[in-house]
């Protein structure tokens, strides 16, 4: 299916959601001035003219849901967004009935970081396995696969897990271990090298909280970083402060992160956020055999327990030798 056809179908489904299902707002994308897609809330069926979707849609639209709390909402959802929605439903943030999901089979989205200096050029659209950029009056045809986010390369659920409408098309196949590779690489470092690596990441961070705002799971009305009683860390972006931010963020997202990669795309400073999150995902899976966002009704991994969870506590069930999972 061509992009033009997808756009037509999207608009048709969006109209249907407005007219037949009575949604009050549709969360979708439109072209930004640079041709890359930007998120947009559509408030009427007539406004849908600019609605579109392509491989430059790097925002997880579920992050915009809290803005429209209480409203009946339509939302475009590739696999990762649909999984975010499942978690938000499970955590009581939204009600399934007030949600109309337009599912999109996802071929993956382009990584701003991999574009390097090209990220400021003009995005003309995708064309099969390639996408087009205009830079210095030249049109570049680049292979999509080389520029996809690591998250998309490693994605095992590119098709929506919940939806009310489904757009025809094919999802990306053949998940690689791009993300796992990043974790592996860090794991192969020595302890001090790992520390240096994350301190370097912390040094880049300016604490603009773009990662937090871009994340659908970070819906707390007030975040621990802003608490004044107690004050967990100072407002100054020093390395230890930023490290606390990065680690606690990772911990709060362990067993909840769907690896959409929106935080990494949002970060203006190029902090390696996904290595931490991918590590958390792997760890939660290894310890508790849990993958977040696949089933409505499920409890979050760290919001539940099992009597036979592995026990590494001093004086506990497992001895050193039995520590099989590490």
């Amino acid at each position: 299916m061509s992009l033009g056809e997808i756009t037509e179908e999207l608009i048709a489904k969006g109209r249907e959601a407005f007219l037949n299902e009575g949604i009050e707002v549709l969360l979708g994308f439109e072209k930004s001035s640079s041709g890359f897609l930007k998120p947009k809330a559509f408030f009427s069926p007539d406004s849908l003219k600019t609605l579109c979707w392509d491989a430059s849609a790097s925002t997880n639209l579920a992050a915009l849901l809290p803005k429209y709390r209480g409203k009946k909402i339509g939302i475009l959802a590739p696999g990762c967004v649909s999984r975010s929605l499942v978690i938000l439903i499970n955590e009581g943030q939204i009600v399934r009935e007030k949600l109309k999901v337009i599912g999109i089979p996802c071929p993956g989205v382009i990584d701003r970081r991999k574009l390097g200096p090209l990220k400021n050029s003009h995005f003309l659209g995708s064309k099969g396995e390639k996408f087009l950029l205009e830079s210095d009056n030249q049109i570049l045809e680049l292979p999509l696969e080389e520029y996809l986010c690591d998250c998309c390369l490693s994605c095992r659920y590119p098709s929506p897990v919940i939806y009310d409408y489904m757009i025809q098309g094919k999802s990306r196949e053949g998940a690689t271990d791009a993300l796992e590779g990043r974790v592996k690489k860090i794991n192969s470092l020595s302890e001090i090298e790992r520390l240096r690596y994350f301190q370097d990441q912390a040094e880049k961070c300016i604490r603009c909280y773009a990662c937090r705002q871009a994340c659908p799971m970070c819906y707390c009305e007030s975040c621990f970083v802003e608490s004044s009683e107690p004050r967990w860390l100072t407002a100054a972006p020093t390395i230890p402060d930023n490290l606390i931010w990065l680690l606690t963020r990772t911990y709060h997202l362990a067993g909840r992160c769907v690896e959409c990669g929106a935080c990494e795309q949002a970060c203006p400073e190029g902090v390696d956020l996904m290595s931490l999150l991918a590590w958390a995902k792997q760890t939660v899976f290894q310890l508790f055999n849990y993958t977040p966002g696949l089933e409505i009704g499920e409890k979050p991994a760290l919001g539940s327990f099992s009597y036979d969870d592995p026990d590494f506590f001093w004086g506990g069930g497992l001895t050193e030798e039995k520590k099989c999972c590490t």
């Binding site: 470092l189 621990f224 390395i239 362990a254 760290l302 590494f312 506590f313 004086g315």
Partner: protein
């Protein structure tokens, strides 16, 4: 380094581990004096931020101890703690913070001897790991001012 006496913060649950520590004292079991105890209602109450904050403020090691599985005063608090702190401990390891700095344990109210043993072991481990330089806050300017203003 030879004379390094680590600062250790221990979050002990009110119902078992705190009583266990108390028993260790009453029974006159010897253990190093490096531990400062903070009593918490339950090991499930321990937010990993407590651990990070303790390290950030200058602790060299942090211990969390609660009732053995099955013995929680609140039925299941320690089961939650077991899951969460396990992930958190591994996160510290992954990020390059010495794993010796964070320990989790089960100590019942009757395990005074075990508590003393645990503290001896943990203190030794933290000593080996050396002073916390991983995630401690920068405070040399404040220390300088503190000395000046004395």
């Amino acid at each position: 380094m030879e004379n390094f006496e680590p600062k250790i913060i221990a979050f002990l649950c009110n119902w078992c581990s705190y009583a266990g520590a108390d028993l260790a004292g009453v029974s006159r079991f010897q253990y190093p004096a490096n531990v400062r105890v903070i009593r918490v209602p339950c090991s499930g109450r321990v937010n990993p931020l407590f651990v990070l904050k303790a390290l950030y403020e200058g602790a060299d090691g942090v211990l969390v101890s609660g009732c053995h599985p099955g013995d929680c005063h609140y039925q299941s608090g320690n089961y939650y703690a077991r899951r969460r702190l396990e992930v958190f401990k591994k996160l510290l390891e992954f990020s390059g913070i010495s794993p010796a700095r964070f320990k989790m344990a089960w100590i019942s109210a009757s395990e005074g001897a075990q508590f003393a043993q645990l503290i001896r072991e943990f203190t030794e481990e933290v000593k080996k790991a050396g002073p916390n330089q991983e995630i401690i806050r920068e405070k040399s300017d404040l220390e300088e001012f503190l000395n000046e203003s004395r």
